[in-house]
Amino acid sequence: MSADFLYGIEVIINGLMAGVLYALVALGFVLIFKASGIFNYAQGVMALFAALTLVGVMEGQVPFSHLINAVFGTEIHHFGWEVPALLAILLTLCIMIAFAWAVQYFVFRHLVGQEPIILFMATIGLAYFLEGVGDLMWGSDIKTLALGLPQGGSMAVEEWTAGLGGDDFYGFFIDKLDMVATVVALLLVAGLVGFAQYTKQGRAMRAVADDHQAALSVGISLNFIWVLVWSLAGLVALVAGVMWGAKSGVQFSLSLIALKALPVLMLGGFTSIPGAIVGGLIIGVGEKLFEYTIGAPFLGGATENWFAYMLALIFLVFRPQGLFGERIIERV
Amino acid sequence: MAPSAQSGPCSIPALLARNVAQHGSKPAYREKEFGIWQSWTWAEAAEQIDALACGLLTLGADVGDHIAITGRNRPALYWAMVAAQRIGCVPVPLYADAAAEEIAYALDHCGARFVVAGDQEQVDKITDVREGLTQLEHIIYLDGRGLRKYDHTHMTSYADVQKAGRAAGNIAEVNARSDARGYDDTCVMLYTSGTTGRPKGVVLSNRNVIETSRNSAEFDDLRAGDEVLAYLPMAWVGDFIFSIGQAMWTGFCVNCPESADTMQTDLREIGPTYYFAPPRVFEMQLTNVMIRMEDAGRFKKWLFDHFMAVGRRVGPALLDGKPVSTWDRINYALANLLVIGPLKNTLGLSRVRVGYTAGEAIGPEIFDFYRALGINLKQLYGQTEATVFITQQPDGEVRSDTVGVPSPGVELKIAENGEVFYRSPGVFVEYYKNAESTASTKDTEGWVATGDAGFIEEETGHLRIIDRAKDVGKMATGALFAPKYVENKLKFYPNILEAVVFGAGRDYCTAFINIDLTAVGNWAERNNIAYSSYQELSQHPQVLNTIEQHVAEVNASVAADPMLAGCQVHRFLVLHKELDADDGEMTRTRKVRRAVIAEKFSDLVDALYGGLSEIYTETEVTYEDGRKGKIKATLDIRDAPVIDQQVAAE
């Protein structure tokens, strides 16, 4: 097999793995959107916040230390202990759940029945708010997330695949972390789907998604469901945050993965879990391939920034409801 | 001072011509229609009038014909009156809300050949009674809405008549006719809403209208550039003088509201500088203000009460040009900025330079409220036969209890029975086709009986109306007995709903009082005084004390006028039931039936004069469902403090 072709395969594989992560983030959106009709722009910032918190907890940072120091002229920074990763993750999860409750209680409870666009703008506000809070709590300096996840390319794969091509082919370069991430993401996706399908809360969640009134009438508490989905979104955010954070450090740009997820959703449809997954994969592969074949050689690279959007945009014009989204029928 | 027929314009059309010449491009009429104030300059108005006049000629109107006009206040209808005068006809405005048969009577009585009707409603009323009216030839309607399908053989739209007129080109004829109008020719005929018997057609000459208009305009220095809101019935002499007489004389602008129910907003938009309203209108406005202020926040409420108090203290003084301390002036300026100014503005009265009220007595607190706002609200006394003005209040001499000094050119005299007579250039020509009523009202020297009893205060020269002359009686002492006068004074107290004063042929006056359940009830609640029934409340000692104070105050003010000092209430009792039309004690229009009451409660009357201190009585009452029942009660009889007349005189 020719090297170019094989490199193409490699690109696709990497694309697929990136796609899984996109899908993961996109899932966070879909969960909330299905249940509450809210398009949660803050998803990305939630990931950032989760990662920041995780790091902060592990390192035993004092929350809001900057603020406290500034106000009281103290000089405190750390509690002086370190928290083991797993415990830290649990703590972070609790915080994310508390956050989910707060969001529901203070914001969206008051916006029930508003147009989607209003809710969307509210989440943009939320994103700003949360980013500010995160920075206030843990400071805005870039942090490294040391969970001991494997780093660098996987020699095993490389050697194992080197044989496939001729002399000018050195085997697939695949990042270990990406592999881990892919596995985790797949597990999480599976878990979520399972949750939605087979648990009582999951079924309630879907009921709410289908029809609020009906759900109410069978005694499902909307508030509870909404807090639940926000919590799940928090979980997703945490995982995504960990993966991305471990990959490229915990910093503001992390919050931009939300922007990555948007086209995924437009492609897959805002209301479809499988859509999110497929969409994620398409985007992941698509942008990598485009960059590899056209972007880098002809357009000066860095086309990932917009390719996904263009793809989604063109796609939308022909199929506004996305791949798997329910058909939008206009009543007169 | 009255100019002879030669000098100056001697008819409304002549005045119109003068206005066109003097301020042809100034606004003469406005009407709120289609969302904006449609405006006509004097020149434009004159053109409209001419067109209609010519049109009427084509319809064959002859000199001396009567042309009836009915509908709500609209410029086009005012033009119709002038157009009629242009061609030597007599305009006869009718009450728009009059019933069909009343209209039928008027049309038949004046033998109108043409009617200018405002809209479908008016047209329908006329067509209903048309058979009876032999002379009626043609109906001219203004608003064609819903009239499309009507038989148009004897009906034309206002616009079409004008079109015909513009086409006919017989303006010369029109001018000839209006030039022929003399100073003593009929200007307008107005039907007095007859309280007794048939309405009478009061004939007013150009002299009447023009001279009263001129005098009254000079009296209040009305000028071109003033704004009035024409919303009172066109058939009422007041509206004719304000909206045609004075408007034509001074050349000020007449504004017509969009409809009756938008009157308040339209008033606010126009902000008239010269404003007339009967007391009930002012009263209604005041009540609205108070009700709306009830819902205001605590601070606003406090602000309002505080600064209205300032206003009440300072406002009238400022209006009357009395000396006011600088501190008060500052206070008032502040009040004006924070409360009074905005309030006047929302009421639409902030530009009022001269305001008049007339027709019935106005409550002092109402009167003072508007004076406190710095609105120059004055009272006048007049009637159709006088072309409105008999007396009016000059600036700086305004009081709620007089109707002012004789208007320019008016002479007054008081007959020994107290009836007021006047003589003036405004005195009407005659009652149309009714010589004997004319004779009975107007004597050979031109003195006219008003039918009201009153007297003139020596020191001020102000006229004070006591009562209808026929209701004024004599007491045993020979002193004047004017129950209504006293009753009104009593009724101005919110606590007192009704009062009936006795004393005709007696030595002194006594009174029945009805408490106002809402007012007194509130008071009782505030001072947590328990009561189970109207009756119990009415006999509560504290209530009686309050009422006694009121009576005392009334006595004091009554005693101030020597002529009436005899009418002070010496003894009174508070009735145990409300006087009620169902029990025949009042008319449906809530006027007390003195005789009936005196007869029904004879025991109480006797007790009052018999010097008892309390009396037990049983009264038959009718409940809502018509059942009859008896209520028993023991009523206190109180002696009210009176001021000795000799003392008062000194």
Binding site: V71, I117, L316 | G35, I36, E269, L338
Partner: protein, 358 residues
């Protein structure tokens, strides 16, 4: 309280439908204009110009633009930053390409070019609605920024990848370039803002404005009364982009002087302007001003209080600002979806009814 409307009546539809029907408002409007044009230029100094006035004036133009699209026509756009960039780069190319044409022409042309680009990106709005569209406009944002980054023709192949505004004059006075007098910067922005505001007002009060609002309130009903949705939406996009383009041009040429597209016109810009109209008031020209003023003054105020008075570290204050802005957005969306403009309207009504409560 200060309103005296009695006698302020209308005798023509022109008078009835004028921008400030109430005399009192009219006088206030003229007063503001007079101060803006005749007083401020003479008292203003460099700090105020750069910290408050020029940014305010420029953002106000952008806010008006976005408000036309979002507030009046109901199409949410997150591409504002990108469109501002178009304006900026168009202006730059024109300035460098035709040095002897007046800068004013350039800025207007820049607006026109942006209008074209905007209309192009508006095309999807026919098929996709609500926040689907909002997300779609992000495509514009990213694509455009990428474009101006990668294609060096746009920045005349300069090594830094930056664009720098050469010195240009209006009536002999330098309005761009390093040695521009503060008052000159202020004046040119003020003039553009005033004109833009007037144009916007005229468009929104008339036929086009009504078809926009019809589309916003109920697109089906709009169609049934004869509004062509394509035309309405595209005109909205075009007009909106025109204003945004002008603001972008001014932002680059007059305010910053030198621009690196990523940081000057990133997605944060899009959000900033969106926030301005949310806080200021959707569907209100005045709201655009209020919002712009608010979000321009807020950081300065925070900085003055936080850094200068309490001497906290700058980054801390910056974070606080994020929190406050975010919270405000949510607050307004919950409590007062029509923003400061609505608050203003309510107050005005109260003053007109004074002393009555209703």
């Amino acid at each position: 309280m200060f309103y005296r409307e009695a006698g302020d009546f209308k005798t023509s539809y022109e008078a009835d439908s004028q921008t400030f029907p109430i005399a009192f408002d009219r006088y206030r409007y003229w007063a503001v204009l007079a101060i803006a044009f005749l007083v401020i230029p003479f008292v203003i100094n460099d700090y105020w110009v750069n910290a408050i006035f020029v940014p305010f004036l420029i953002y106000a133009i952008a806010a008006i633009g976005l408000n036309i699209l979002t507030g009046y026509c109901g199409q949410v756009s997150l591409g504002t930053g990108g469109f501002m960039a178009v304006g900026a780069y168009a202006c730059y190319k024109l300035m460098t390409g035709f040095p002897d044409v007046s800068i004013v022409i350039h800025i207007i042309l820049a607006g026109g070019i942006t209008a074209a680009v905007g209309a192009a990106f508006g095309l999807p709005s026919l098929r996709i609605k609500g926040f689907y569209l909002a997300v779609a406009t992000l495509a514009a944002q990213f694509f455009l920024v990428w474009l101006f980054n990668k294609v060096s023709w746009f920045y005349n192949y300069s090594a830094s990848g930056q664009i720098n505004a050469p010195e240009r004059f209006v009536a002999g006075v330098a309005v761009t370039g390093p040695n521009t007098a503060p008052w000159a910067q202020y004046m040119i922005c003020l003039v553009f803002l005033t004109v833009c505001a007037l144009l916007a007002r005229n468009l929104t009060r008339g036929t086009i404005g009504r078809s926009w609002m019809a589309i916003r309130d109920m697109d089906i009903a709009a169609e049934i009364i004869g509004v062509n949705p394509l035309k309405a939406k595209l005109t909205a996009f075009a007009v909106s982009s025109f204003f945004i383009g002008i603001s972008g041009a001014l932002f680059f040429a007059v305010y910053l002087g030198a621009v690196e597209v990523g940081e000057a016109f990133g997605i944060q810009k899009s959000f900033l302007v969106l926030f301005m109209i949310i806080i200021g008031g959707l569907g209100s020209i005045f709201g655009s001003f209020a919002g712009a003023a608010f979000l321009v003054v807020l950081p300065v105020a925070l900085k003055v209080i936080g850094v200068d008075w309490l001497d906290w570290p700058t980054d801390l204050v910056a974070h606080l600002q994020l929190v406050i802005v975010g919270a405000l957005i949510m607050f307004f969306l919950i409590k007062e979806p029509h923003g400061l403009a609505q608050l203003w309207r309510v107050t005005k009504e109260k003053l007109r009814l004074w002393p009555f409560p209703y």
